[in-house]
């Protein structure tokens, strides 16, 4: 089984890649770049960091910018990867969104590709604990929910941050894994990386309802 992983650079796609690599060959990462941060399917901010992550992983990456529609872009990209990399299927980091899940499933089915979602319906608390236990180093780069927590931006997710997310879940109903789009992450290191991502320069962008940690310069160390 030769697979592509739908890759955003965040925790979900990285963990899905990590799990998949235990069983099958991943020959290419597919990074779909949406037009703005309002996409329900893909991650927008800090998307250039995926180039560094692919280098750290020593896996090819194919980046496709959304033109007409997000679905059409994914379909065209998969047609290309089927031809160029001879992939049998796609792995996604969908957790709970039936909107996301069904879009990916349908496109794969139309192209006769297997669709795997290794973290589908995972218990969010257990999931974040698993990431920490497996030495995933990831930071929160976008916060899109109430309360607007600017201090959490750029912080590495550890037990302290997990407890904060659990607290926000209890008080405000946010999804602990950010599955409702409450927050976005970027992975700086995971066990498959041969090098670490080092952030050299960043800025914080604060808007009325959300805040983002924009990486301006990064390198591999």
């Amino acid at each position: 089984m030769n697979l592509a992983v739908l890759y955003s650079g965040g925790k979900d796609s990285n963990y899905s890649l990590f799990i998949t690599s235990k069983y099958y060959k991943v020959s290419v990462l597919l990074n779909i770049i949406p037009k703005n941060n309002e996409s329900y399917l893909y991650q927008y901010i800090n998307n250039k960091i995926t180039l560094l992550q692919a280098k750290a992983l020593s896996i090819d990456i194919y980046r496709a910018e959304v033109n007409e529609s997000e679905e059409k872009t994914l379909k065209e990209a998969l047609i290309y990867l089927k031809k160029e990399y001879n992939i049998d299927g796609l792995v996604t980091g969908a957790i709970r969104s039936t909107y996301q899940g069904s879009k990916f499933q349908k496109i794969c089915k139309d192209l006769k590709l297997w669709c795997f979602n290794p973290i589908w319906l995972i218990n969010e608390k257990i999931y974040i604990k698993e990431l920490i236990k497996n030495n995933f180093e990831f930071i929160i780069t976008g916060w899109y929910s109430y309360p607007l927590d600017i201090d959490i931006l750029g912080k590495k997710v550890n037990t302290y941050i997990l407890n904060k997310l659990i607290e926000y879940n209890k008080k405000y109903g946010i999804n602990i894994a950010g599955e409702g789009g409450e927050y976005e992450t970027i992975v700086l290191y995971q066990p498959l990386f041969k090098k670490r991502i080092n952030i050299e320069k960043y800025r914080i962008n604060i808007e009325k309802n959300y805040a983002e940690y924009i990486i301006e310069k990064a390198s591999l160390i």
Partner: protein, 174 residues
């Protein structure tokens, strides 16, 4: 003891279709045993047959391993591919019909699981063509998608996604 029979050819699919069922059993402290579709399950009181990936039809090569469910009339919840297996064993055909995504199901008959229409998540491309022998509970655009025959309960959708209560009712009230 609950027997959970997975129908997934690939290990990765088990994380997607088997694990969510195990979560529910663990959360409710219910004892279970896991079986592969390639073997015959034994020493269980009730059975849940999980679904699998859209491209996966390997389980159709092993349907005889499920004959004992019908012969012994074991209380069973047959999810998606599980429904295909049991209806096929009962002599019914599968017809090509793609249902992928979240849809509203119309309740057509009283049942122990629910008393109103509900939304459910589907990942299916072949639908069993059943007849009046079945008690039909729910339909989607006139297609039976939730029904029962003797002690076997069929969901063409994946109740672990949006309808956990169906699994819990099966575990506690059937």
């Amino acid at each position: 003891m609950i027997g959970v029979i997975y129908t997934n050819k690939y290990k990765l699919s088990r994380r997607e279709f088997l694990r969510p069922i195990l979560y529910i059993l663990k959360e409710n402290k219910i004892k279970y045993k896991i079986f592969s579709y390639k073997k015959i399950a034994n020493n269980v009181d009730k059975i849940i047959i999980t679904g699998t990936a859209i491209m996966d039809f390997d389980y159709l090569n092993y349907i005889d391993n499920f004959k004992f469910i019908i012969e012994k009339d074991i209380k069973t919840l047959a999810i998606c591919s599980g429904s295909q297996i049991i209806t096929k064993l009962l002599g019914y055909k599968l017809i090509n019909k793609e249902i992928i995504g979240k849809y509203n199901i119309n309740l057509v008959n009283e049942n122990i699981f629910t008393d109103k229409d509900f939304e459910a998540y589907f990942l299916i491309t072949k639908v069993p063509q059943i007849d009046k022998k079945f008690n039909i509970y729910g339909k989607l655009n006139n297609i039976p998608v939730f029904y029962n025959y003797k002690n076997i309960y069929f969901t063409l959708f994946h109740p672990e996604v949006l309808n956990k209560y169906i699994i819990l009712k099966f575990l506690y009230n059937i």
